[in-house]
C-alpha cells in the first residue's frame, strides 16, 4: 500500500485525472489506476495549503485573524470531513445501485482536491504582490480552483458509480443527510458512553468513601 505513494505512475495518473476526469475516473474504477494512499496524501496537502492560505495570504486580501488559524485542528477537521463524506456517500450509493467501492469514492474525492491545492497555493503566492484593486485576480483564481474541484468531485462520483447526472445530484444531497445522521449518532453514542462512565465512576467513588 505505502509503496504506491512512491510510484511515479500513480502520481502522474492523479494529474492525468485533472485534465481528463471522465476517462480517468473510469479507469480508476475499472482498471485500478488510482491509489488510496495518494488520495489521502492529497487531502492532507489540501488541508495544509488551506491553512497556509488562511495564515499567510497577503494582508490586502486576507481578513483572517492569524491567531485563529490552527493548522493541526484544521487538518483533523478536514480528514474527519473526508472520512464522513466517503462513508456517507458509500452508505447511500450501496443502497442506490452504485458501482463504486469505498476505495473508489475515496480516490474520486481525494483527486478532486488537486485543482484546489494548486489554486490555493498560487493564490497565496500571488496575494503577496497584489494591491486592493488587483485583488479580484486573487479571488478569481481561488474561485476557479474551488469550482473546478467541485465539478471534478461531481464527475468522479458520477463515473465511479455509473450514474446519470440527476441521480448523482440526488445521491449527493442524500450523502449530506447521511453525514448529519452519522454525526448525530456519534454524538449520541459519545454522550451515552459518558453517562455510563460517570455512572460507574460514581459507584466507584461511593465504594471508596464507604470502604
Amino acid at each position: 500500500m505505502i509503496k504506491e505513494l512512491f510510484s511515479l505512475d500513480k502520481w502522474k495518473y492523479a494529474f492525468y485525472t485533472v485534465s481528463h476526469p471522465m476517462d480517468a475516473y473510469y479507469e480508476i474504477r475499472h482498471r485500478g489506476r488510482g491509489s488510496v494512499p495518494v488520495a489521502i496524501v492529497l487531502v492532507i496537502l489540501f488541508s495544509l495549503s488551506f491553512s497556509i492560505n488562511r495564515m499567510s495570504a497577503g494582508f490586502i486580501v486576507n481578513d483572517v485573524d492569524p491567531l485563529e488559524v490552527n493548522a493541526l485542528t484544521e487538518l483533523v477537521a478536514v480528514l474527519l470531513l473526508y472520512l464522513l463524506l466517503c462513508v456517507g456517500n458509500w452508505s447511500i450509493t450501496c443502497l442506490m445501485e452504485g458501482e463504486g467501492r469505498l476505495k473508489d469514492i475515496a480516490i474520486a474525492i481525494g483527486y478532486a482536491l488537486i485543482p484546489m491545492i494548486i489554486c490555493f497555493n498560487i493564490g497565496t503566492i500571488l496575494s503577496q504582490f497584489v494591491s486592493l484593486e488587483e485583488g479580484a485576480f486573487y479571488w478569481i483564481i481561488i474561485a476557479l480552483g474551488v469550482a473546478y474541484g467541485l465539478i471534478m468531485m461531481l464527475m468522479g462520483i458520477m463515473v465511479v458509480h455509473n450514474y446519470t447526472l440527476a441521480k448523482t445530484l440526488v445521491t449527493i444531497l442524500l450523502t449530506f443527510i447521511a453525514v448529519f445522521i452519522i454525526i448525530f449518532v456519534v454524538l449520541l453514542f459519545v454522550n451515552l458512553i459518558n453517562q455510563v462512565y460517570s455512572f460507574f465512576y460514581s459507584i466507584y467513588q461511593e465504594l471508596m468513601y464507604r470502604a
Partner: protein, 492 residues
Amino acid sequence: MRRQKRFVRFAASLAAVILAASPCMSAGAKELPYDTYTYDYRENVMLTPAPYVPNGRITGQTAGTTDFREPQDLCVAPDGLVYVADTGNNRIVVLSRDMKETVRVIDSFKRDGADDTFNAPYGVCVSENEQLYVADSNNKRVVVLTPEGEFVKIIDNPQSEVLEDDFDFVPLKVTVDYADRVYVIARNAFEGILVFENTGDFTGYFGTIKVKITLWEKFWRRLASKEERSKQQLYIPTEFTGIDIDSDGFVYASNLDSEGIQGIRRLNPSGEDVIQKGENGNLGGDLWGSTYGTYSGPSEFTDVVYRDKGIYSLLDRKRGRIFTYDKEGNLLYVFGGLGSQEGTFNTPVAIEAVDDQIIVLDAYHNAILRFSATEYGSLINEAVGLRYDGDEKQAIGIWEQVLKLNENNELANSGIGKAYLTAGDNAKAMKYLKLGMNRKYYSIAWQRYRNELLTQSIGTVLTVVVVIAVLLFVISQLRHRKGKGKRKEGLL
C-alpha cells in the same frame, strides 16, 4: 536526581516570572473603579490605559446650596457656567465654571407681573445667543429666560395636523441651534424630535427613525388573524433620549437601539441622518455583553455631548459607560461603570463637557461626577482634533506619544502610517498601516512601494531574463543537434 533538577528549573523559572511581573504590577497599581478599553479591528476587547479618571463629585451642598433632588439634565453655557435642571426641587441651579460655588438659583420668574414657577423642569439648555431654555415638563411648556432668570417667552401647546388631537406635550430634553430653532424631545412623541421656530410655532417632526420590520416578522403578521395581530406588540420607532447640537447646527440625538448597532444620529437641518460609521459600521456602544441578567443586552444611550472637532461622547445607562467616537465613527475610548465606589454611577442621566473634563449627572446620588483627561486621553483628543483639521503631519508626533502609552492603538498606528505615506516613506507607511489594520491605505502604500522596487531593479531583472532566455535557447539548440545526431546514429 532528574526530578530534583526539574524542580529546581521550575522554581527558577517561576521566580523569574514573578520578578519580571512585579514591576508591571506596581506600575499599574493606580486602581480605577472601572475598566477602560476599546474594541480593536477584530472586535476584541482591548484594554487601554485610562483616558479619563474620576476627579471629585459635586453635590448641591459642596456647591453651597441645598442638595439636588433627582436632577435630570446638565448644560454648559457658552460662558462656561454649568446649569443643572434640579427636577425634584423645581429649580435651575447655576454653578460656576469650576462647580465649586453656586452662581444663582432660578426657582421662579416674573411673567406678566405675576410670579411663575417650574414643575419638574426636566431639561435645560443655554443657546448661543445666551438664552436659557427650560423644558418645564409637568407644566407642558418650554420656558425661555435670560441667564439671570428674566422671563422672555414661553413655547407651549404645539398646533399642527401632524399631531394627534389628544397629544400631550411633555417636553423632556431641549436644545437650540444658532438660529434659535428649538428642538424638543417630548414624552411619547415617537415620530421624532419636535422643532419650533424662534417665534414659538411648531414646524414639525424631525429625524424620524424608521421602523425596521424583518421579512420574518412580516411573514408572521401575514399569517396572523386580525385578532391576533391586535394583540401583538406594536412596531413603534425607538425613542430619542438625549440631544445636543454642534456649532454648524447639526443635531446629535441619542436613541435606544435594541439591536445595538446605531445609538446615535447626527441630523442635518432637513432631518436626515448624516452620521459617519466606522470600519465595522457600529455606533451602538458595547459589541459584546453578557447574554442574561440585569446588565445584558446592548448599550442604552441616555445622553450625548458633542465636544469639539467632531468628537462626541455617549452615556450608557445600562452599564454606566461613556463611549467616545470621532467624526469618522471610530471608537476612541470607553470608560466609566456602575457601582457605589467613587467615580461610578447608579443612574447616570446626563453628560456634558467642560474644557477637557467630562461631567456626568447621577440622578440617584444627586451628584455631578467629574472626570478629567489623563495624558493618554488628552493626547488622543488632540491628535483626533488635528486630523479633523486636516493637519495629519502635525498629528504624527502626538500619535507616537500615544503609541508609547498603548502600542496597540490602531488609530495611532493608522495615523502615523498615513503621515508616512504622504511623506513618501512607503515601507514605513506599510508597517504602520498594517498594524493599524487600514487595508485601503496599506494598498496604496504597497502599490507605491512596488513601483519603487520595480524602477530600482528593472535593469537587473531584465538582464537576468535576457541571459536566461539566451541560455535556454542555446541549450535547446544543442539538444536538438545532439538528438539529430543520435537519431542518425540510430538509423545507421
